[in-house]
Structure formats: C-alpha cells, structure tokens
Amino acid sequence: MIGRLWAIALNTFREASRNRVLYGIAVVAFLMMMMAIVLGEMSLHEEARVARDVGISGVSLFGALTAIVLGVTLLYGEIQQRTIHSIVSKPLHRFEFVLGKYLGMAMMLTVMVAIFTLSMAILFQAQEVSFTSALIKAVVLAYVEVLVVAAVAVFFSSFSSPYLSGIFTLGVFVLGRSTEAMREAMSGKLSGPLSAGLHSGLAIVPDLHLFSISGSQVNGHLVTVHSDFVSWGYVAMASGYGALYIGAMLLLAIIIFSRRDFV
C-alpha cells in the first residue's frame, strides 16, 4: 500500500509543480514581503512589528490560497481529464488514490510554505528582525492551517466543480477564521433554535482561529508574536486538532469518492 500511495503522491507533486499559478502566487508573496520594508519605513519606528505582522500574515494567507488552488484542481482535474481511468483501474483502493493525492499536495504545500518562510526571513534580515521561537511557532501553526484548508478543498472537490469547491473552501476559510468573533457576537444576543443552529454550524466549521492566535487571549493572557506567544504545548494541541479535522475531511472525501462513477 505504501508503494502505491507514494507513487500517487510523487506524481501529484510533479503535476502540482507544473502549475504556473503557484509560481505567480510565490512571486506575489515575495513582493508583498518586500512591500513590508516600505510600510516599515512609513511607520513610526515600528519596522520590526510591521515585518513580523506582514511576514506571518503572508505565510498564512498565501499558504491558504495555494491550498485552495491545489485542493480544488488536482482531484477534480483527474476526473475531468479522464486520467483517473487508467489509474483507478489499476489494483489500488480508491482511498489510496485520495490519500496519495493529498499527500502529494501536502508535499507541494510544504515547499510553498518553505518558500514563503524564506521570503519572510529575507524581509527580517533586511529589517534586522531576529527569528524568535514565537515566529517559528506561528509558522508551524500557519502550516497546519494550510494543511487543514487543503483537506477541506479536497473534500469539496470530491463532489463539486473547481469553481464551486473554490467558493466553498474560501467560505469555510473566512468562517473558520471568524469563529471566535462570531461566538462573541452571538453570546447573549440569540437564543432558542437559531442560536443552537448557529452554534452547531460553527462546530462543523474548522476553528482556524486556533492557528492565527496572535493578538488574542489564551487562558486570560494576551498572546502575540511580538512578545509573549503561545507555548509548544498549545502548538501541539492545535496541530492535534488540525490532524483530526484533516482526517475527518479526508474520510468524508474517501466515502464520496469511493461511491462515484467515473464516466
């Protein structure tokens, strides 16, 4: 099974690496990081703060964008271009195909997040900002978030077109990032079935706020990448949550994919 998974993953990585949109995203991400130097100059001696904020946001947002682009195109593309016919007719389980595709995507996303992080490091070097452990934790959290978004995109892609999957995944990303704010907004103002429905909805959406935690309260303390940030224990807990969510999304994608007819 490992050999087949690896074969699909490597092929997916190869296919993804030929996607020119990713090169465009990498260039725009690099330019945005360099823009932070200009923004820093415009701030009042807050160059380091601007560099850290722009750098981490860049890794996170461009990572999520890459995850959506890859997630919604790679799986669906196989069906649309009928390349899947010569693959699923081989002696492999359909779940191996879905997992292999995700693994290949995760490999490409790792490379992309590494490129964004390198751009951020160049920015820090230019602004003489040190790469603290808080920043490393923030990058790890952003990376896990990107993997979660990719799994959501794969799930939608297992039954809808790239266009719809893209919209759905983007919607989940925006909602997932706003779960904390929405819970706060709803508390005490709504009651009855509407409140229960909205809370259930929020429970289904991934809590992506866990991964972009800088500037929020954790256990009554303000955490920020500029000074006191979360512990490695928190990073492990958030990563565990991310892994469970990825598992659930891929399981649903596998169930749907296994029942599909490839005409």
Binding site: G3, R4, W6, A7, I8, N11, R14, E15, R18, Q81, R82, T83, H85, S86, I87, V88, S89, K90, P91, L92, H93, R259, D261, F262, V263
Partner: protein
C-alpha cells in the same frame, strides 16, 4: 475451459441531472469470455460497449446484474491485479514520458524496480516507441498515445488484457500495428477482450464476438458459428472489350438480378437461384472475359447492420411508448 469474464444480466442507468429520470445505457447484457480467447465486443456508437467495460474495470457501478472476473465479483482489486486496461481515447499525464508512464503503472501494480525497467524497455520496443521513450506524451500523436497506453497496460504481464476501442482514430499502419500486438498477445495465451466497431479488424483477430446494440446483446459466439455460410448468391465480374456493344451489355444485365458498370468492367449480381453457368456461357458467347465469380455469404458486417437496425427500431418504439 475457465471463465475469465462472466457478465450476467448487466444493467446500467445513468442519472444526468439529480431530478431527471435516469437513462438506461445497458439493458441486459450477458456473455462469458473463456481463458485464452481473443474476444470482441462489437456494436455501433452508443451501444453500451464502453459502459460494460467501465463496469468490468470498476470505474462505474452496475445498477443490476453480476460481473465476475477470474471468478471474483467485480469490482475487485485482486482481480484487477491480473488485468491490463487501455481506456477509450486514453488520456494520460502529458508531462510524463512513455517510460515514466510505464514506470508509474508498474509501481501501482506492485512491480519491482528491476522488472519495471526491463519490462518498460521490452514493451516500448514491442509497441514501436523505443525511439520516443523519453519524449513527453503531450508531443505524441493519437496513434503513439494509443501504443503508449498498450505498453502501460502490459507492464505487469497481465493474464487478461481489456482494450476499449484500441483501433479508434488510428491510420491503417497504426491499426495494423495494434492488430499485430493483439494477435501476438493471443499467441502467447493471453485472454484479450476488446471493443470495436471496425469489423475488418474484428474478423481478422477475434475468435469470439458479442454483438451489442441499444444496450442489448444481439448475437454471440464464435465468428464461424454466427455467420451463416449458406451461399446467398454470386458476384460475377466481367472485363469488357472496347468495342462491346450496349445491346450485349443489356443482354448480360437481363440475365442478372443487379449490375454495375465501372470503366471497362461489368459487375453482375445473381440471386441464390440464379443460373451462373448460363450467365458464363452468355459472357463467353459475347466475348466478355470472366474476371471473377464469387459466392456471396453473410458477413459480420451484415450481422452488425442487422443488429444496429434492430436496436434502432427498439429504441424508437421505447421512445414512442414513453409518456
């Protein structure tokens, strides 16, 4: 003999839109392919050939009926390990070369690295792609893609080879090459199951056929059993001298059931009860040279056309009966 493929009462419905009534692509198809046969599934476009093959390969699920491969109920991963498959109008990853495609197929079939390399060399040589082995598939012609598809299907030395329209879109040379490959597989004892509507190819390489039209089996068996060998008349071809008169031509035409003139040649068609000897005597008397006398038998094409007609009529009846 051992049954390699058993299809019993296969039915497949497609639902194009969620609320629309499903369309029945395959109504009731049954056939058995024995080990070592070169078996052709023939029928016009839309007959249900590709749907049947997709059910066999686990790409789609049957609505009803039973499909067994090597005795195991399909879809079965275990039985797929013994099958090599070439899809209709094959689409492959165009960034791969033919060698890389074979390597990927080999990995998915669990073939070890050394064997993959050896088999890739042999197969690309067999299908005539040895010179283009490192060219990306996006630069391949349709015929080359078809041959690359056959190579990847054979990488794990399967016992059964399933080819969906392997000759479709190929030029005569390409068709001959694919025919030869299928022939060589048959000679090596492999079971070959393929769909086609190119009847001359089917007649050349198949020993058994199943004719399908409008989703139903219209005939099945060994070609020599299916085709009625009773003489259905004669075709006589005469070479006419330059000074051959219209009156003589009219006399010859009157002695036949049908005729056709082609530059210095007269082709006459006789019914089974027509008198060939009398016609030849008349030709001799009029100084026309006899080029050929051929008895006419039923052909696979006749069966095919009959099946297609029956299928079309049935579809029209169903359409009319629909509320």
């Amino acid at each position: 003999m051992t049954a390699v493929i058993e299809v019993k009462g296969l039915v497949k419905d497609y639902r194009t839109r969620f609320l629309l009534r499903p369309t029945r692509a395959v109504h009731d198809i049954s056939f058995t392919v024995e080990a070592g046969q070169v078996f052709g599934l023939i029928g016009p476009n839309g007959a249900g050939k590709t749907t049947t093959i997709r059910v066999l390969m686990g790409l789609i699920r049957a609505t009803a009926g039973e499909v067994r491969l090597f005795g195991q109920r399909a879809p079965s991963r275990k039985s797929r390990a013994r099958i090599g498959f070439l899809p209709e109008s094959p689409y492959f990853y165009d960034y791969l070369t033919a060698a890389e495609l074979c390597d990927l197929a080999g990995r998915l079939c669990g073939v070890d690295r050394a064997t993959r390399r050896k088999r890739t060399e042999e197969l690309l040589d067999l299908v005539g792609l040895d010179r283009a082995r490192n060219t990306r598939l996006k630069k391949y012609s349709k015929g080359m893609l078809q041959r690359a598809g056959i190579a990847q299907a054979l990488i794990h030395d399967p016992d059964l080879v399933v080819l969906d329209e392997p000759m479709s879109g190929l030029d005569p040379i390409g068709r001959k090459e694919v025919r030869d490959i299928i022939g060589s597989l048959g000679e090596r004892g492999k079971t070959v199951f393929f769909s086609s509507h190119i009847l001359s190819d089917v007649e050349t390489i198949c020993d058994h056929v199943t004719i399908v039209a409008a989703g139903r089996v219209r005939g099945a068996g060994a070609i020599h059993e299916l085709v009625d060998t009773t003489t259905r008349g004669y075709d006589v071809s005469l070479a006419l001298p330059d000074d051959f008169s219209d009156e003589s031509i009219a006399r010859l035409e009157a002695a036949a059931a049908g005729s056709r003139r082609i530059e210095g040649e007269l082709r006459l068609r006789l019914d089974p009860e027509g008198d060939v000897d009398a016609l030849l005597a008349l030709a001799n008397e009029l100084d026309a040279r006899v080029r050929a006398v051929e008895p006419r038998h039923e052909t696979l094409e006749d069966l095919f056309l009959e099946a297609t007609r029956a299928g079309r009529e049935e579809s029209e009846k169903l359409e009319e009966a629909r509320p």
